[in-house]
């Protein structure tokens, strides 16, 4: 197969390019360490809507439309929309798609949705099935909390490993050719190309504690990254930055330990590697316990922070690996463990 390397990695020979992106985040995320990188920060997490679900849809819609505008395009130019979220039946994405009327495929990858959708969008564009594809993901603390955990106002104490679902959304337009719209800026920002993607396998560690998501997902992230290195022949040194999605503080430590076991020197990896879940909030001040999680966590950090840094030329090659815990609302009650997954995407600048 000419566009596949090894067992799990896809090669995008036509180099799909990211032409526009946007990150929309909630108030708490917008007052964290990453606040200067986000395009839109909400004043109010309801976003002026009647329900939390509507608010989340609105965030995704805003992210998508802004990304399209930044690419210098119109809605009608977009051939396919590939987005996902955490809600049952992809409520936020489907209702966004209803509003924007772009041909739509919904994706579920739990918190791995952002790289999953970027991978799929790149496949569409690289294969010539789309000229422009928009991909994205969203999550909202209040919608996720009520679906997966407890009503918001219920009093309880969260264990130290519990993670905080980010109220955030990110979207990117992936196109076959660079758009010229950006080039009026001087100096011209760098173009970001999608060059490889590695599809992850489900790794189930047998963890059953839904408050230990980072630990449940870390082996999946490590597995995908190691397979990526094996398939492509690259090493951590080939990357300027490696970001995992939402392992959080505990998951990140576990990942580093597993990498060390696999013979990847953590001192070498340490300077390049970080986890979006540990970047989004101030750890002590915000009382987020295990760190951030949710589709929006990695989506907003990639589209807000990473893409901006790459366009500015600070990073030349990045590996992004969103991680998902594929549990359902009923599986923990049936005694099932948490299946973890991670998809990796390689980004390079010109």
């Amino acid at each position: 197969m000419k566009n596949k390397l090894g067992k799990q990695t896809l090669v995008f020979r036509n180099k799909p390019v990211i032409t526009g992106e946007c990150a929309v985040v909630g108030t708490r995320e917008g007052s964290g360490p990453m606040k200067e990188y986000f395009d839109v920060i909400l004043d109010d997490d309801t976003y002026g809507e009647k329900t939390w679900e509507k608010a989340e849809s609105m965030m995704l819609k805003n992210a998508i439309l802004t990304a399209i505008r930044k690419a210098g395009l119109e809605k009608s130019n977009i051939d396919v929309m590939l987005t996902g979220d955490l809600l049952n039946q992809l409520m936020s994405s489907s209702f966004t798609a209803r509003d924007v009327s772009i041909p739509f495929i919904g994706l579920y990858g739990a918190c791995s949705t952002m790289t999953q959708s970027m991978l799929m969008a790149s496949v569409f564009v690289d294969g010539g099935f789309a000229e422009h594809a928009v991909c994205g993901a969203s999550s909202h603390y209040c919608t996720a909390e009520r679906q997966f955990r407890m009503p918001l106002e219920h009093g309880n104490q969260r264990p130290p490993s519990a993670q905080w679902t980010a109220t955030a959304s990110g979207a990117a337009v992936i196109s076959r050719q660079p758009c010229t719209a950006n080039n009026i800026l001087i100096p011209a920002p760098k173009e970001i190309f999608v060059t490889y993607a590695t599809i992850g396998k489900i790794i189930d560690t047998g963890m059953k504690d839904a408050n230990q998501m980072g630990a449940a997902m870390a082996p999946a992230a490590v597995d995908t990254i190691l397979n990526h290195f094996e398939d492509t022949g690259m090493t951590p040194a080939d990357y300027d930055v490696i970001l995992t999605g939402d392992l959080g503080y505990i998951g990140k430590e576990i990942a580093l330990d597993l990498f060390a076991d696999a013979g990847i020197d953590s001192a070498k990896l340490g300077v390049r590697y970080d986890d979006c879940g540990t970047m989004l909030y101030y750890r002590e001040k915000e009382d987020v316990h295990g760190g951030g999680s949710g589709c929006g966590c990695s989506a907003s950090i990639y589209t807000g922070y990473l893409f901006r840094k790459m366009r500015a030329g600070e990073f030349k090659r990045a590996l992004i690996v969103s991680t998902g815990a594929m549990l359902s609302t009923i599986s923990p009650f049936q005694g099932e463990s948490i299946p973890g997954i991670a998809h990796a995407v390689t980004l390079e600048t010109s």
Binding site: P151, E153, G155, D204
Partner: protein, 157 residues
């Protein structure tokens, strides 16, 4: 890591990984939580006792005074839940405010607030007991069981 036939890891593997993950996890501050719960719960009881004594001094009998205090506690917890303070209070005080009747009141009001958007019948009505339901089911069931036992051993006249 996984058993080849099902993808579900073997029990000992899962146990070993859980132990490994635990070594990275900070321990909950059990002692501090207990102390805080003890102080908060104690203060709550002192407040209740104070109210009851006041009411009795104003001429209520003991039974009525106790009922009024219970109702007052429930109302206070409901109000605090409604204005969004109860969950912050619980973060600090933990079991000190969850174990008394205040915790029960919170577990009724929180779903009522949460599911208002889904309508009064299927939203609030359907989900009102989603948290308190299990407590009621097993609380009432065990009360009935104990009652029958009491009757059988001839306690009831």
């Amino acid at each position: 890591m996984a058993d080849n036939t099902t993808g579900v890891p073997k029990k000992e593997m899962a146990k070993a990984y859980e132990k490994y993950a635990k070594s990275f996890t900070p321990k909950p501050t059990y002692v501090a939580n207990c102390v805080r719960a003890f102080i908060a719960g104690g203060l709550l009881c002192i407040l209740a006792m104070f109210l009851q004594n006041k009411l009795m001094a104003m001429g209520q009998n003991e039974k009525d005074a106790a009922a009024i205090v219970t109702i007052a506690m429930i109302c206070a917890a409901q109000l605090l839940t409604g204005i969004g303070l109860f969950d912050s209070l619980t973060k600090m005080a933990g079991a000190g405010v969850i174990v008394p009747i205040t915790g029960f009141a919170n577990s009724m009001v929180a779903p009522a607030l949460e599911y208002k958007k889904e309508g009064l019948v299927l939203g609030v009505g359907g989900k009102l007991f989603s948290l308190a339901g299990p407590v009621l089911v097993y609380g009432i069931s065990s009360a009935v069981a104990v009652g029958i036992l009491y009757w059988l051993i001839g306690g009831a006249k």
